[in-house]
């Protein structure tokens, strides 16, 4: 795992409580808001389960800690998107809170119903970008969520040991988290 220079993290009293909101104007129309909300709820929950942090959705976009939107091309943050595939999304290190997804991608919540060869799993990318929002940079561990690349039609949304160790070194452990459950999950995957 890796951190950004200076090891930035959200500096608030523990347990950390962060709010998130979706842009009213910068969304995609082929997935419903309820589908997108459900995907992000699951992505935030993965991180909540390992560190003492809670994420709550709010409708107040301007005051939300984490602001999520889908953007095309140059959208004003100096990091223009590049169309289909290439760069899929980006997010900013703590305590900026911006999480941007490339609106040009074919975002999917279920590959059974989306046949496009360039479909990208929204949950996998959302979970990765939330890692950046919390302070993790890219890792060299291919299986980890924080590995920088993701092939189309691939789902990789479970946190791996590398992700968990990295984020817990920043925020501590969720008291309900047990490494044994993660190890069991990874062992069963390895056996498979």
């Amino acid at each position: 795992f890796a951190y950004f220079n200076g090891k930035p993290r959200w500096l608030r009293a523990s347990p950390l409580k962060l709010t998130y909101a979706f842009s009213l104007y910068n969304m995609i129309d082929y997935l419903s808001l309820s589908e997108i909300r459900a995907v992000f709820r699951r992505s935030f929950s993965r991180w909540e389960s390992v560190i003492p942090v809670s994420f709550t959705e709010t409708r107040d976009y301007q005051s939300a800690d984490i602001r999520i939107g889908f953007y095309l091309g140059d959208h004003g943050d100096g990091q223009p998107f590049d169309g289909v595939l290439g760069v899929l999304a980006h997010a900013f290190s703590p305590e900026n809170g911006r999480l941007h997804l490339d609106a040009a991608e074919t975002w999917a919540v279920d590959f059974q119903s989306v046949k496009s060869k360039v479909a990208v799993d929204l949950e996998s990318v959302a979970t990765h970008e939330i890692g950046h929002i919390l302070g993790l940079a890219h890792t060299s561990v291919k299986e980890a969520i924080m590995y920088p690349s993701l092939s189309p039609r691939t789902k990789k949304s479970d946190l791996k040991l590398d992700d968990v160790r990295g984020i817990q070194a920043l925020y501590g452990s969720n008291p309900n988290f047990k490494f044994s459950s993660l190890m069991e999950s990874e062992n069963s995957l390895n056996k498979a």
Partner: protein, 110 residues
């Protein structure tokens, strides 16, 4: 002369921006391939080459070799120092727009 069949090595669907990087396969230090400056821009964007004070050339020079080695290390690839098929395939894969640089790495024992 028949072109090598790359279909078995590069199976990922790529975007228009990086789709032609497969022509750099097997390029190494000392080689000169038209358009390699575009690949250098990619390396610059993701933190492997310093910000240029002039336009990038199409020459695979020592500085670019160092960048390729660093990229291979950071992405968990075999460190060959040249643009082998694994490296090119990874370069062409869709990815997060955050730079791979400006951070400190930690290791995890598995």
């Amino acid at each position: 002369r028949t072109a090598p069949d790359l279909s078995t090595v590069i199976t990922v669907v790529h975007n228009a921006t990086w789709h032609d990087f497969d022509r750099f396969i097997d390029a190494g230090k000392g080689s000169h391939v038209n358009g390699m400056s575009e690949l250098k821009k990619y390396f610059n964007r993701f933190g492997y080459l310093p910000i240029p004070d002039k336009n990038f050339t199409d020459m695979f020079d020592a500085q670019f070799e160092s960048a390729v080695i660093l990229y291979q290390r950071n992405l968990g690839l075999p460190v060959t120092g040249f643009l082998d098929s694994d490296t090119i395939s990874t370069i062409m894969s869709p990815r997060c727009g955050m730079s791979d640089a400006s951070h400190s790495l930690h290791t995890t024992r598995h």
